[in-house]
């Protein structure tokens, strides 16, 4: 009984002595340092944070010199409610889908500006606002495929970009 009490006391004392400090928890992209002071000899380990699998998949390819890059996007557009014929609905939905595809190309090539604002009152989120904007000039994009189903038009577009396109 006494022996077991002594062992328990020893274990709790060692647990209290060993201090784990984790630095840079906010910055998940950097390496995490784990310091373990076991007794008198502190040891430091560098732990590389693993990226989420979805983040690994969405890495954009880089445009290299002397190489062309094909960008493919699918834009979606909806027909308005008050159309006079299915043909008109198709034409209007297709136009909206093309605009969406152009927007996606611009986002992929040039990037998106994002502004966010949260209003917190009495420890509660009253209003959360996210604004995004894109501005670009897109030329020579090709329509590859168009589908129209139940009022939704999908347009697949492709654009080939090279270094020469960005020459001043």
């Amino acid at each position: 009984m006494k022996k077991s009490l002594l062992i328990a006391l020893f274990l709790s004392a060692t647990a209290l002595l060993s201090v784990e400090t984790i630095q840079g928890v906010e910055d998940t992209t950097g390496p995490i340092t784990v310091e373990q002071a076991a007794g008198d000899v502190p040891t430091t380990q560098m732990v590389e944070p693993a990226l989420p699998s979805s983040q690994n998949q969405s890495i954009e390819p880089l445009l290299k010199e002397e190489e062309e890059l094909l960008i493919s996007v699918t834009g979606q557009g909806v027909a308005p409610m008050n159309t006079s014929s299915p043909a008109q609905a198709y034409a209007l939905a297709k136009r909206a889908a093309v605009a969406d595809a152009y927007r996606m190309i611009a986002e992929r090539v040039k990037g998106v500006r994002i502004d966010g604002q949260d209003l917190i009152k009495n420890m509660m989120v009253k209003r959360s606002t996210v604004r995004t904007s894109v501005q670009a000039m897109v030329k020579n994009a090709d329509i590859v495929e168009t589908t129209f189903k139940e009022g939704l038009c999908e347009v697949e577009m492709e654009i080939t970009i090279s270094h020469a396109d960005f020459a001043q």
Binding site: A96, A99, Y102, R131, A136, M137
Partner: protein
Amino acid sequence: MRSRNGDHYFSRRLCSIILFYSLTLSASEYLISYRYVVKDAILYNESLIVSHAMKKCNGIAYEPLKLENNGSKNLSQIISANHDIFIGYIHKLGLDVQHNEETINAQNKSTTVLTLRTKCFKVDFNDNFAKIAPLK
């Protein structure tokens, strides 16, 4: 025709001048602008403005498009008869994309504006087709 001093080139010169002026008189310049707005994935407004250029445009014509004109010399009529082809051609020339999106308390609103800035086009009218080319 031979001139008094026996110049053989006089007739050739005359013919080339007549040919040149007949070609330039049938060619004219137009200013075209195109803009359409898509709000929340629905086409909101589309406008195509075609007008005669009031003063001469400078530049070199590139990437011409040929449209059937059926004898007409009215560009607006020709474009409306071949609307889809012309709009596709304008898209190829390049459009400015301006997109704004706002999400407030998980409710999303978006506006996309595609614009062809006013551009000068040289148009040659022939018997069967009209050749449209932007000037750079």
